[in-house]
């Protein structure tokens, strides 16, 4: 039996096409030893949920710069629940005003990282909070 690998999907829901941040994060996860599925820009919440299940990931990292996170992030959590995959952990990043945090946490987002966040802190968070299934 080999060691269980953490699998992560990094996805960008919504309409903005700036995926530099998401790519940097994906690469950083790879360098931390995780297997990262990168799905690119313009993903609908439905596509994200289906892909996460097909890839059997432990964690979905959502990145959103367009301001639509209030709708998009909770919708991904909701769809995973509908598909009986609520064990897949969802975190969010991007330009997210502090007043939205509570609402997002309440909807089931497990962590939020804003542009100031250190990449190492995100990796540490994953190591401490995500148990490969």
């Amino acid at each position: 039996m080999t060691e269980r690998k953490i699998r992560i999907m990094v996805a960008k829901p919504g309409l903005d096409g700036h995926d530099r941040g998401a790519r940097v994060l994906a690469r950083c996860f790879r360098d931390a030893g995780f297997e990262v599925i990168y799905t690119g820009c313009h993903q609908t919440p439905e596509q994200i949920a289906v892909s996460a299940i097909q890839e059997d990931v432990d964690l979905v990292g959502l990145s959103c710069l367009s301001g639509a996170h209030r709708y998009l992030f909770p919708r991904v959590v909701e769809l995973l629940k509908e598909k009986e995959a609520e064990d897949i952990c969802v975190i969010g990043g991007g330009i997210i005003p502090e007043q939205d945090f509570e609402m997002l946490y309440h909807s089931g987002i497990k962590a939020i990282f804003t542009p100031g966040a250190h990449l190492d802190d995100i990796v540490d968070w994953v190591r401490q909070n995500v148990e490969p299934k």
Binding site: A32, T39, A85
Partner: protein, 329 residues
């Protein structure tokens, strides 16, 4: 068996977890393969190989559309490399296939090589069995970006598509061995780039020289371009799909299907033996520290690798005491 039933019904959660357990060599995954094995062997398995960035994923995306139009269900296994330094991997093939995500007739799974050398992943053979048992009519396997030597795809597919891109020029002469020998269909991709017609000509020359027998497969060479013009691209890909299906018919009507199956199963049984015998012994030796002690015996020149290996093999393989390796007459 509950799990087997769920796999055959196409339960995505069960299928994708099983593939993961196979990648991680979980013991219960092996049991699952034992159970589904009788239900495999129906799918047409197509390998897509070629250098990094040649446009393999873009072709796979097109082929999914083409086969879906023919009402065939499609499974995709897309392999990308594992980083030798971190052990992590960035799997990006799926980006090109997003438009099929919500089609329940399509299942896409990314696999990391995890150190496998042949352009695939160790779990790919078993993952193919899973998609096959799940009832996928067509299984597309995209290799990592290959050089000349990564040809393991031939042991895992019925039809191999080798994707080449212009700009290789005379290099074809140099790379005639290896990857050039495994093609059932050549695709000159990005034929909108300069050098395409020369590449095409060189390929055709190479094939003419190979003198295919009259009842042989006439190795098609196809050009594909304009991946960004859906209608034109679609037409090209439809005829590629047509050739792929024709190739399968050829395999069925000649004896080739049987001999390919034999070639595949020989590799499969050898792999299984290695897993069940060699891996077992190695992990034993590693766990009890003997492997370390053996290594020191080599460093101190107390012994040599073959003497030690023969001792171990005579201990483990009781019926056939450690005779030195002899070539059969």
């Amino acid at each position: 068996m509950e799990q087997t039933k769920k796999i055959r019904e196409g339960n995505i959660r069960i299928v994708s977890r099983l593939i993961r357990n196979l990648e991680d060599s979980e013991p219960e995954a092996r049991t699952a393969i034992k159970n589904i094995f009788p239900y495999t062997g129906k799918a047409h398995i197509i390998g897509i190989t070629g250098s990094a960035g040649a446009g393999k994923s873009t072709l796979v995306d097109g082929l999914i559309s083409a086969f879906r139009k023919k009402n065939k269900t499609v499974g995709v296994l897309a392999i990308d490399p594992t980083s030798p330094f971190s052990g992590g991997a960035l799997l990006g093939d799926r980006i090109r296939m997003q438009k099929h995500t919500e089609d329940p007739g399509v299942f896409v799974r990314s696999l990391a090589t995890r150190g496998a050398m042949g352009g695939l992943s160790k779990a790919v053979g078993d993952a193919i069995h899973v998609l096959d048992a799940m009832g996928k009519d067509i299984i597309l396997v995209e290799t990592v970006g290959t050089g000349q030597q990564e040809v393991d795809i031939i042991y895992n597919s019925h039809t191999v598509i080798v994707v080449l891109v212009p700009g290789m020029g005379d290099e074809i002469q140099a790379i005639k061995a290896g990857i050039m020998e495994i093609a059932d269909i050549f695709v000159v991709n990005k034929a909108d780039h300069p050098g395409a017609s020369q590449l095409l000509m060189e390929l055709k020359n190479m094939i003419n020289m190979a003198q295919i027998p009259e009842d042989g497969w006439p190795l098609p060479v196809m050009t594909v371009e304009s991946a960004f013009e859906p209608i034109k691209f679609g037409e090209k890909i439809d005829s590629l799909a047509q050739n792929i299906l024709k190739h399968y018919e050829y395999l069925v009507h000649s004896d080739q299907l049987k001999s390919r199956l034999h070639r595949k199963t020989m590799v499969e049984i050898k792999d299984a033996l290695r897993t069940c015998i060699l891996d077992q012994i190695l992990s034993d030796l590693e766990a009890n520290g003997e492997l370390d002690r053996l290594a020191y015996k080599l460093i101190s020149k107390e012994s040599d690798p073959y003497t030690l290996a023969e001792e171990i093999s005579s201990r483990y393989l009781k019926k056939r005491p450690g005779k030195p390796y002899q070539k059969k007459g």
